[in-house]
Symmetry: C3
Subunit: 255 residues, 3 copies
């Protein structure tokens, strides 16, 4: 239906679906997906809706960004947009979107259809950010807490890095909140999980691993991923988004 | 493949996917989705296929509607289209689609690809309804039985309304076949289910409810919905489409 | 993200999603889907990615085909493209796609985004095949082994045909690697499965079968399919892609 709203308001604008696969209410998952995707988009407007607080006091916002890619982000002010904004550049201005009529107290709204899509269509056809609402201070935008990986030295000289599962893709590859630069090609890393420790190879590509074998590698987003060749690392290790994972070994760069 | 058929026959026509999530053979679910969506569409043709009777004697039809939105609906004559037609206006004329060659007896057809998409493409590029087949009397179109909610007065003065689960969205919100006008803001309603009665608040928005708490509210389609804040009401109450639910309390308008 | 890459490189090109439903690593399933779809596509480029060997030595290729439909296929050289090429015509030339920089040893690539989509966009906007890489001999392209159905005569004069489950659609219809011409309309066929033999009717359409009843028919791709009216034959018979099924009866044409 959002496509239809944009087609009606901005018939010449092309609309691309980035994903319909974010789990209900998973704002952090949506934020991470946007941050991965936006560097590959051209000029345009990104409209994103993962919005458990719809109808409540959370603000609806549009952001303007100095960026070679998308120049505007539209969505709820619940942390969904900020990682993508960081990946693109800096928020130069922001507005809280105005509603056509005051919110009533006896009806819930479908903000994607009624507020975000119209605002995105307006921006895509040249409306100014200021025309869509009231200026807000970009520093007041809601940000998600970012899990910082932690490192400690072990008596045997190796290092233990603790990171968080940030994304599990549809193949079951487990992306950690850890920059791929920590990995040393050809090394061996211990994956420490409660009751399921394992020693795995640092692989360069999936093809380095025998089918069914686990490994760690730098994935296509530059992060450390725990993988199983032609299998699901999430299933193998029983991991879900948000779980903590410890890697033990020698690392190229300690975060 | 339907997209490709339309792109070939009507290259300038924009195609929007309304949904690929209707369960196999669920004509009523498809009809309800269309009825919710069509008021938000602009001018154009709606092509819909949920078609357990494909290859059988059910007619393939195209309808013309006096409407500010989509002017034509194309699909099987099995009840899929009529609610959407009602939501848009009145069917002014209808045809049974002609097949290019007589139906053979030894092959089943893929009517979406071979019949409905070509007819939709033709209408979208200006073909007349009459050119696509034989006129049929709109009053003979198949209609789905509509569940009528029932009301009875209880000895204590309250009312018991019985309604049907009409739609469960991907979040697990349970839409009933009951107009949202029955609800009194701020009230308390008993949700009567076999073995699982519960008293829930009448909420204005999801944000009125503590996370994990059930409530009823008027949803974005104007209907009564049974919800759980950031959770699944369908799971909580074990409900499926077609189940009967009783609401007990004071209501603003008895259907 | 592939859509965005094409939109950036070839803004005027229309992109159609054929499917996002192929199971991870199921090259044969992707190949079969492409082969079913391409006869219905118009002129253009088909970009396909089911690519368990990404990052390994498998070649990335683009094929040129003498065809009234799509003239180019782009994807991994792992068998994914060859059935579609056969369905369209003959591969007249092929290239191994060049990478902008030599593959590094410490990063895996997202070839869909970084290699296949840009190549498809280039071909769609008129680039020559030769400009995209190094010519390869079409006869060296990887082909999937094709299951050949086998037939044997039974003492009672009937025939036993053994075929492979080639595709299970979302309704649970089971397509076999067997041309629909083998079926005799109105006949009875024994479906031989370990522990679950059954006699089923040869139906012309789903509508010939009582709801819940199994049958065999010539499906919309011209192949033999094992079906259950408004139900799932895959569930009924416990079948998965790749399973072997024996049909016993009288047949119109022995493969």
């Amino acid at each position: 239906v959002l496509h239809a709203v944009v087609a009606r308001l901005a018939p010449a604008v092309r609309v691309i679906d980035l994903s319909h696969s974010i789990a209900p209410f998973d704002v952090a998952g949506g934020a991470a997906l946007l941050a991965r995707a936006v560097p590959h988009l051209g000029d345009g407007v990104v409209c994103a809706v993962v919005d458990p607080g719809v109808g409540g006091p959370r603000r609806a916002v549009a952001l303007e960004i100095q960026s070679a890619g998308p120049g505007h982000l539209v969505g709820p002010d619940n942390g969904l947009l900020c990682e993508a904004a960081d990946a693109l550049g800096t928020v130069s201005s922001a507005v809280e979107l105005s509603r056509d009529e005051p919110a009533t107290t006896d009806a819930i709204t479908f903000d994607g259809r009624d507020l975000f899509a119209p605002a995105a269509a307006a921006l895509a056809t040249g409306a100014s950010l200021a025309s869509l609402g009231t200026a807000v201070d970009p520093s007041t935008l809601v940000r998600l807490g970012v899990e910082v990986p932690s490192a400690r030295s072990l008596p045997d000289g190796r290092t233990a890095l603790t990171a968080t599962v940030r994304w599990i893709d549809r193949f079951g590859n487990v992306q950690l909140s850890l920059d791929g630069d920590v990995l040393i090609a050809g090394g061996i890393v211990g994956v420490g999980l409660v009751g399921a420790d394992a020693l795995v190879r640092v692989a360069s590509t999936f093809d380095d691993l025998e089918v069914g074998t686990a490994g760690v590698l730098r994935d296509a987003n530059g992060a450390v991923a725990l993988v199983v060749a032609q299998g699901s690392a999430a299933e193998r290790f029983g991991l879900e988004v948000g779980d903590r994972v410890e890697l033990v070994g020698d690392f190229g760069r300690i975060p």
